[in-house]
């Protein structure tokens, strides 16, 4: 999927992705020539199809997690299917639930990496296998991170 500014004959560049939380996706693209911005708006079915491929429009904010698609998409999963066995060498750390990933994606890009690291370290130190919005809320309260 690419966008072309026909008037400038320039390939438009990805600017920003938004997940409003209603199953849709919005992505903005900007022409590097004239500065015109267009938004790609996908309906829930289109959004789901992209998500089903395991790819992220605008690129990934965090590394692909083990069984990421299965864990985020299966609606009838066991609550206790997974246990955290700890890290092996340079592992990827705790998993991120789909809702947590969406919430992280809404954090402004320039502080997102730092915010992510804080949550990962918080989860690692407490042996938490999966970062969920509830874990994020607890971390914010405990670590005094209101606003993140």
């Amino acid at each position: 999927m690419k966008f072309l500014c026909v008037e400038c004959d320039r390939q438009m560049a990805f600017e920003e992705r938004r997940l409003p939380g209603d199953g849709t996706l919005a992505a903005a693209f900007k022409c590097p020539g004239c500065g015109r911005v267009v938004a790609l708006l996908t309906n829930p079915m289109e959004t789901q199809l992209v998500a089903s491929l395991g790819v992220k429009i605008g690129g990934r904010t965090i590394d692909e997690q083990p069984l990421e698609t299965v864990r985020s998409m299966v609606a009838t999963g066991k609550d206790d299917a997974f246990a955290d066995g700890g890290e092996k060498g340079e592992g990827r750390g705790p998993m991120w639930s789909r809702d947590a990933q969406e919430r992280l994606a809404r954090v402004p890009g320039f502080v997102r990496g730092m915010v992510k690291r804080i949550y990962v370290d918080y989860a690692r130190e407490r042996g938490i296998a999966e970062i969920t919005p509830a874990v994020m809320d607890t971390a914010r309260a405990e670590l005094g991170l209101e606003g993140m």
Partner: protein, 264 residues
């Protein structure tokens, strides 16, 4: 007057989304994970109910008894049976580093299955819009298969048996995901109806360039009459590896494992 503008392949600027690169990274992850597997073998049939999972389980246990490291990937996402057939212990899936550890049975067979993840007695259901769900459900199941290959710590194995559901779609997905099409073990029952369905599947295997290790005729000596095993083996110039009766004993499985060892 029609607009004159460039098309997709004519735009070559770097793209921050990098969707092709993301897909490429997924494929590399699969390739890296299965690099330690000497042979991936798809257990396949065009026909349902012929005993693919039963054969995969019995064969894997026999291979393990011979001291060879073996795994079973249960690719029947909607009707997973491998954990019960392999007598897997009830266990949570352990996340360690960048992978999920497979569950191991008493004989040392490693296994991963959707049955380990989905609530007992409930169907595999996905989050998402219900309308037109057929559009994305197939893509999600293929993604689940990819993650079972890429994200399970299979470790070094002599043999990874992929227990496929009936039909040919999951085989095509598997062949798409792996660096090379997998070898195939074909399971049939003796009847001509089974031969008809399995023939179509074998033709797809042949067209895909996947090597066929042989045919296993299951449920022989019972109420199912016919010679599907022999006729398919002749037609596709592949060995008939075994005729398995109802309730085959340990010796039948061991003989199949030995035969497969010399055929692969």
């Amino acid at each position: 007057m029609p607009l004159n503008f460039r098309t997709y392949h004519e735009l070559t600027d770097p793209d921050r989304s990098g969707l092709p690169e993301q897909i490429g990274a997924q494929r590399r992850r699969v390739a890296e994970r299965v690099a330690g597997v000497r042979q991936v073998v798809a257990v396949l049939s065009g026909k349902g109910g012929v005993g693919k999972s039963y054969v995969a389980a019995g064969l894997s246990r026999a291979v393990a008894r011979r001291g060879r490291p073996v795994g079973v990937l249960d690719a029947d996402l909607n009707g997973p049976t491998a954990p019960r057939l392999l007598h897997l212990p009830v266990a949570r899936c352990t996340l360690r580093g960048d992978a999920i550890e497979p569950v191991v049975n008493a004989e040392g067979v490693k296994c991963f299955s959707m049955a380990l993840l989905v609530e007992d007695g409930r169907p595999l259901a996905f989050r998402g819009p219900e309308a037109e769900s057929h559009v994305w459900r197939g893509a999600l199941e293929a993604a689940a298969l990819r993650e079972f290959l890429a994200d399970v710590a299979w470790g070094p194995l002599d043999l990874l048996l992929v227990d496929l559901p009936p039909g040919i779609q999951r085989f095509q997905e598997l062949a798409d995901l792996l660096p090379a099409p997998p070898a195939v073990l074909v399971v049939t029952i003796p009847t001509p109806e089974s031969a008809d369905a399995v023939r179509r599947a074998l033709r797809a295997v042949h067209d895909r360039g996947a090597p066929c290790l042989g045919v296993i005729e299951n449920m022989t000596g019972g109420p199912f009459a016919g010679d599907a095993g022999d006729s398919l083996a002749r037609e596709f110039d592949t060995p008939l590896l075994a005729r398995l009766p109802f309730h085959p004993g340990v010796h039948a499985w061991d003989a199949l494992a030995q035969r497969l060892g010399s055929a692969s």
